[in-house]
Amino acid sequence: MSWIDIGDINDIPLRGARIVKTQVGCIAVFRTAPDEVFAVSDTCPHKQGPLSEGIVHGQSVTCPLHNWVFDLNTGQAQGADEGSIPTYPVRVEGARILLDAESVSRRTAA
C-alpha cells in the first residue's frame, strides 16, 4: 500500500470528523474519544446525508439527517436499517494521519 499524509490528528475535533476530497468522492475521517481514527465514505446510503457532521459515539456515527447509525469499523448500518458505506484503510503515525492512496484513486475504485 502507499500512504498519503492527509494532516494532523489534532486538526480533527475529538469525537468529530473532517472530510477529505478524493477521486472517489468525499471521505469522512473520524477521530473518536480515545484517538482512534477511521476513514469511511462521507455519504449516507439512505439519502446522501453528510456523515462527517453526525454525532460520534463509541466507534459509531449517527447520520445527521435521519439518525441511521453506522459502525465505523465495518461501515454497516446498525439496528433495523440496512445499508453500508465503504471504509478505507487509514493509519496514524505519530500525529500524522495516513490514507491509503490506491483505494481512493479512481483507477482502483472503478
Binding site: L14, V20, K21, A33, E36, I55, H57, R106
Partner: protein
Amino acid sequence: MTKQKIVVIGAGMASGRVLENLTDAAPDQFDITLFNAEPRGNYNRIMLSPVLAGDQTYEDIVTHDDAWYADRGITCRFGEKVTNIDTAAKIVTGPNGDVAYDKLIFGTGSEPFIIPLPGHDLDGVIAYRDLEDTERMMSMGEGNKVVVIGGGLLGLEAAAGMAARGVEVTVVHIMGHLMERQLDEAAGYLLRKSLEGKGIDIKLQANSKEIVGEDGKVKALMLDDGTELPCDLLVMAVGIRPSIALGKEAGLAVGRGIHVDDQMLTSVEDVYAVGECVEHDGAVFGLVAPLYDQAKVLAQTLLGEEAAFVQKTLSTKLKVTGCDLFSAGDFAEGEGREDIVFRDPSRGVYKRLVIEGNKLVGAVMYGDVADGNWFFQLIKDETDIDEMREMLIFGPAYQGGEASDPLSAVAALPPEAEICGCNGICKGTIVDAIAGGATDLAAIKATTKASASCGTCTGLVEQVLQVTLGDEFEMPAAASICGCTDHTHEDVRRLIKSMPLQSQEAVWQELGWKSRNGCHVCRPAINYYLLSDWPIEYQDDPQSRFVNERKHANIQKDGTYSVVPRMWGGITTPSELRAIADAADKYDVPTVKVTGGQRIDLLGVKGEDLPNIWDDLNKAGMVSGYAYSKGLRTVKTCVGTDHCRFGTQDSTGLGIKLEKILHGAWTPHKLKLGVSGCPRNCAEATCKDIGIVCVDSGYQISIGGAAGMDVKETELMCSVPTEEDAMEVVLAVTQLYREGAKYLDRIYKWLGKVGMDWVKEQVVDDLENRKALAARFELSQTIYNHDPWADHVKAKADKYAPMADLTLEAAE
C-alpha cells in the same frame, strides 16, 4: 586465568540486576568496578514514593548494601560521576582516577525533564527522581504549599505522598484527564475524584506560564490564564529523557536513547547498555519490568550464553493508597475493536476491556483491580477469549456474573442528597419516613411532601423506596432515556443537581452508563442538562450537539446550510438589507426567503462558505439568528406604539430588549416569543412558547403556545404593570423551564406535566424565587450570551474546509 574487567556506569535498578545475575552465576569470573553519581549504591527507586508517604524508610528500600558489594568483591566508586571514556584505549575516567575495562556497561538511567519556563532555575524547583528530591519533599509539612506540574504516575505519587504529610498540594496538568497515557477518561475521572478526596487540588487543561520567585526562591506558579498558585516548593514531573550525553561523547550511536541490539550491545565493540538510557528497536523505557528482562539478557550475553531481548506488553499500577487502578496493553488506538464496559457507581468501580477479533488487547480498571493480572496474562498470552466473552469482564471467579444494578446510583447517594428540589426533601428524610411505615409513594408524599409539587422526582422517590425496602416494593416501569442507561430523563436531571455531577464522565460513571460515551440520543440531553445546571463549572461540548448547533446553521436535505442572521425583534435597516443582498450574490445563494419569525433566510449555502458569509454579515453588524438551536429563536413583534394607532405599549422595544437579553441561551427545546402591542395580537403572541400581549394597564404574559404538529393557545400566567416586571417574569419562567424540563419538551409539554399552578407559585407568587431564577438565568448568560459566528470565524474557520483535497493528486 585473569579475571575479565567489567566497569559499570550507574548503580541503578537495571545495572543492579545485571550484577546480581553475573555474580550469582559466576562469582569469581569478573573484576567489577561500579561508578555511581549518587553518593550511594543501588536502592529500589520505585519505592521512593512509599518513603515519601512515610510508609517505609530509606533503609527499607536499599537493595544492595555495603556488605553485599564487599561479599562479591565489587569495587565501589560512589559519588563519582564518570566524566570521560576512551573506547579505543578502553579506559573510563572518574573524578578520582582512571579504570581500564574489557567490557563496559552503561546503566545511566534517565534525567527528569525540566520545562524551561522562566524561573525554572529558582531554588525550590525540583524534579522527582532520587533520594535528594524525596528528602526535599519530606521536609514539607502542615502549613506548606506545594505545586506539582504533571499529572502522570510520578507527579501523582509525589502529590499524594506530600498530601499525606499535611501539605497543601495542587497538581497542574496540561491534558484533559489524569495519567492520560495509561488511563482512559472514565478511569481518569475516578482517579481525580479519589485524589481530590485526599485534599489534593487538581487543575486540568492548565498551562504553566512562569515560575515566580522572590530572592532567588520559588514563590508561585503562574498559569497562562493569569491564575497564581503560591508555593514553597515546585515539583516538576513531566517526563524523563534517557541520559545519553556521556554515551554520545564516547562516540556511541544514539537516538532518543543509546542504540542497542537484542543483546544490549551498543554500536561500539565491548560497550553495552541497559535500563532507561537505552533505545531498542525505536522504543525507550520508563518502567522496571522490561529493564529486568534487559538485565537478564545482558548477563547471559556476558556469560557467553545466547539470549535476546524482546519487548512485551506492559501494565501499570499507581502506588497511592486508596487509588486502585490498573492499566495494561493497548486500549486506545486501532481499528476493528470492541469494548466491554462495566460500572458499579456505588463501589466506584469502572472496568473496560478492549477486544480485537477474539483476543483481549487492553484493559483499564479502577476501584477493583483484583482481576488485573488475570487480564494482563490473557493479553500477554493472546488467549482466544471467544468462549468466555460474555462473562469475561467479571473476571475468573464469576462464571455466573453479576448484572450492573441500575439502582446503585441511588443506593450510593448520601442521606443529605436532595431528592425533591421543590420541597427540599433529602434522601435521609425519605428513608426515615419509610422506616416510620410510609411504604408507598402516596404515603411518602403525605408524610414528607417529596414529589408532592411538580412531581418530576417521582421516579427517584420510588427508587429510594426500592433500595430501602427491597422486594417488598414493586417498581413501576419507567422509560429510560435510551439503551445506554436504565435511568429516565427526570432521574438524571435530578441526580445531576443533587449528587452533584459536573462533567460527562461523572454522569457516565456515577449513573452507571452502559456505553463508553453515550449515543446520539442521550449525549445531547446530558450536555444540555450539565450546561443548564452548571453553567460555570461545565463547558458546553459542541461534539455532543446535533450538526445544526455545532455548525450554527441549518443543515438542508442536500447537505448545504441555511443562514439566518438575527434581526432584533424583527427590525432591520437598509444597510443590513444591503449586506444580506450582497452576501446572497457573493455566495450564490439559490433561495432567499422571508420566514414566519420575521427574519430573512439564505438557503443553500455550502458548508465551507459558512465562515466567510458569517464574517461578511458580522461586519455589517449582524449576529447569528440561532435559527438552528434548541434555544432562543426569535422574538416576533408588532409595531406597537411606535406607529400603530391601537398600540398600548412599546411592543417592538420590549421585543428587542427581550431578544438581546435572551439570545444565546440554550433551552430544552426551541423557544419562540411574541410581543403584541394590543389584544388584536398581530404578532400572534398567543401561539408562542412565551407570549406577551400589551394592554393599557401593563403586560399579559402567557406561556405554552405552539403552532406545529400540535397547535396550542398559550395559557395566561400573570399580568404585570411595568416593562421591568415583564422582563423579570419572562427570564424567571425561562429559567424554571431550563432547569426542570426534559430535553426536547417544549414549554407546553413541560407545562402539561408540572401544571400552571405550580409555575405560578414559583414565578408569580414567590417574588424572592422569581428574582433568584432571573439571577440564575443572567449568571448563565454571562457565559452564553455571545455570537457563535464571530467565535467560529476567529477560532476555527479552517475546520470548515476539507482537511485535504486529493482530487488534484496526479493519477500517477
